[in-house]
């Protein structure tokens, strides 16, 4: 590694860590989400520094570009955004600490174990010609081809399980949204109203001319949706 790369690495790593700390300490929840985005981008930059371009790009595309935006959406649509009174530390902070330590305990040994392999790979890459086909499989994990191969080969089952999980989430979202939607009555367009008239169907209306829902339940649901 040349000195520039090391310097850049240190800077990016500090920025990533710093923004990660800001995520959990900042009181304004929107700011917290923005810091999260910053740390995502920092991670992407680290990937890029490790020449895992595909991972870096996907990190930006999926995490910084989409997931964090969904987080922001969720925050803005659900609760008080300027959380001055939001507590940073809750009673059960030790649970979070345990989980974080456990994760750390998993990640660090993995790094330790594979560090030698990666160094070898880096040396091979510096030496010159690309390693033979078989060696590439185990060493260069970062390229799109290799990721694709391992998804479709070695890790097919976990991959499919995760896909099914996402599909379930998708279907669940559709079901919830659809239920919500069916309860709402659509406002008819002029053309639709006219078509109904032509076919002799007239909606029941009250004295002021507003549409009277056919069932009391529908009226209740309408009111509910209006209040919500």
């Amino acid at each position: 590694m040349n000195p520039i790369a090391i310097g850049v690495f240190i800077v990016i790593a500090l920025l990533t860590l710093g923004s990660g700390i800001m995520v959990v300490t900042v009181r304004n929840i929107i700011h917290s989400a923005l810091w999260l985005i910053a740390s995502f981008i920092g991670v992407a930059a680290l990937y890029l520094l490790m020449e895992a371009e595909f991972l870096a790009v996907v990190q930006i595309l999926v995490y910084a570009g989409a997931v964090s935006i969904l987080v922001l959406f969720a925050i803005m649509l659900t609760r008080q955004v300027t959380g001055e009174g939001v507590r940073v530390v809750f009673e059960r902070w030790w649970v979070a600490l345990l989980i974080a330590l456990g994760l750390f305990g998993v990640i660090v040994p993995t790094l330790w174990k594979h560090g030698a392999t990666w160094e070898e790979a880096a040396k091979l890459a510096q030496v010159g010609p690309a390693p033979v086909e078989g060696a590439a499989n185990s060493l260069q994990v970062a390229t799109a081809t290799e990721i694709g191969r391992s998804f479709m080969g070695e890790y097919l089952l976990p991959f499919e399980v995760v896909s099914v999980l996402l599909l379930m989430a998708l279907i669940g979202a559709v079901v919830i949204a659809y239920e919500e939607r069916t309860r709402r009555r659509r406002v008819l367009t002029l053309a639709e109203e006219l078509a109904l008239k032509k076919r002799g169907i007239v909606e029941p209306r009250d004295a002021e001319g507003a549409v009277v829902p056919r069932e009391a339940e529908a009226a209740v649901i309408l009111l509910d949706s209006e209040q919500a």
Partner: protein, 413 residues
């Protein structure tokens, strides 16, 4: 460039640094000059479409108009709303511009590639996706209802259209076998520099879909609902003035420029054209740059033409267009792209197939035959899909024209 500097006697890290700085400066200058030219170009061409002349006073043919406007915006007051989130409000245009400039890192200028990233195609899309963060920040940080609405609209639109945009690229990646823009450009160099993807059925449909989705990504009319003037003033830019507003503008136009460049690279052969290879060297490079710029600006002209013709979509139309029209077509296009690759390149993509059936003969006759079969097949698939989906859309429209009594009673439809 770094190697040349090292030979001149600089330390290796210094030469890398200097080369990077020079590259970044060139990209920034090229991008901003391109943006300036683009504003002039758009205003002039849309003026002629409306029987006007457009800016033609400052400089020859009004070419210096953008400079005078830059001076104007720089000297304007830079106002920040009292209750705005000051830092977020300040950072939003920076994020927007940063995302746009990032995408210029991989965009080729003719046959000059600033950085040849392996995942360059995805990189461009990803940086485009970062725009949504800037929009969100601008919308939220302004503490203004219109700005927030505009930001929300913009983010929803960007996220929705990112999907067809990314998937429209997959056929190109399949046909090339790489995500590097350089390889994609090289792959389109057959037939004396005219083997552009747009001439194949898969590429044609992909081009149309990608360009449409990119219009939405760049907030161009008819997809400009995040800044719909008649509804929400200027959307997320409502509370911005002076230089910050100019930065938003700069980033918008630079991303439009990037979209044109990328579309030209992916589907129109980038800097390829007749005569580039024959000339070679610096002259060939210049010719390819000219071809590339001509293609890109022709694409931008189409953007302007669309802007002058088509009215803005409604929000629900926008969403149903993305999910009900673009997405199915994009999926079908991936299917026909795989047929295309299977027929023409099985030796490159699937070594197993080659083992079983032998490598495809390189003899001309069979090559042409397979090409013809591939063209007919993909054309049939794509045309059939387009016809089917349009018919379905039409039927949907017809169906929704009437609501039956039962449907009303059920609250359906």
């Amino acid at each position: 460039m770094a190697d040349a500097l090292t030979q001149l006697g600089f330390a290796s890290w210094l030469s890398v640094l200097i080369a990077s700085i020079i590259k970044v400066t060139l990209i920034l200058v090229g991008g901003s000059v391109g943006m300036m030219f683009l504003t002039w170009y758009e205003r002039r061409s849309i003026s002629y479409m409306q029987d006007r002349r457009g800016p033609n006073r400052v400089g020859p043919q009004g070419l210096l108009q953008p400079i005078s406007e830059a001076i104007k915006t720089m000297t304007k007051e830079d106002a920040t709303p009292r209750d705005a989130d000051k830092i977020v409000h300040f950072l939003a245009p920076v994020v927007m511009l940063g995302a746009t400039v990032l995408s210029f890192a991989v965009i080729p200028w003719g046959r000059m590639f600033p950085v040849d990233l392996n995942a360059a195609v995805l990189f461009v899309i990803a940086t485009g996706g970062l725009h949504s963060i800037g929009m969100m920040m601008a919308g939220w940080g302004s503490n203004n209802k219109f700005a927030l609405l505009g930001g929300m609209r913009g983010v929803a639109q960007l996220i929705s259209y990112e999907i067809p945009q990314v998937m429209a690229i997959i056929p190109v990646v399949l046909m090339t076998g790489s995500m590097s823009l350089q390889k994609i450009v090289e792959a389109q160099n057959d037939f004396a520099g005219l083997g552009w993807y747009v001439f194949s059925p898969v590429g044609l449909l992909g081009f149309a879909l990608f360009f449409t989705a990119s219009l939405a990504e760049g907030e161009r009319t008819p997809f400009d609902i995040p800044e719909a003037d008649s509804e929400i003033i200027a959307g997320y830019m409502t509370e911005y003035s002076g230089m910050k507003f100019a930065v938003f503008y700069l980033s918008n136009y630079m991303s439009n420029l990037a979209v044109c460049f990328i579309t030209a690279t992916l589907y129109l052969g980038g800097g390829n054209g007749p005569g580039v290879d024959a000339l070679g060297g610096i002259a060939g490079g210049l010719l390819s740059l000219i071809y590339f710029l001509l293609k890109s600006f022709a694409l931008f002209f189409v953007m302007v033409l669309i802007r002058a013709t088509v009215p803005r979509l409604r929000v629900d139309q926008l969403m149903s267009f993305a999910w009900k029209f673009l997405l199915p077509l994009v999926l079908v296009n991936i299917l026909s792209a795989s047929f295309w690759v299977a027929l023409l390149r099985w030796d490159q993509q699937w070594p197993k197939l080659t083992e079983w059936f032998g490598a495809p003969s390189t003899a001309d006759a069979t090559n042409w035959g397979r090409l013809a079969i591939a063209i007919v097949l993909t054309l049939l698939i794509n045309a059939g899909a387009v016809a089917l989906i349009m018919r379905l859309t039409n039927r949907n429209v017809q169906k929704h024209l009437y609501t039956t009594d039962e449907e009303l009673a059920l609250g359906l439809s």
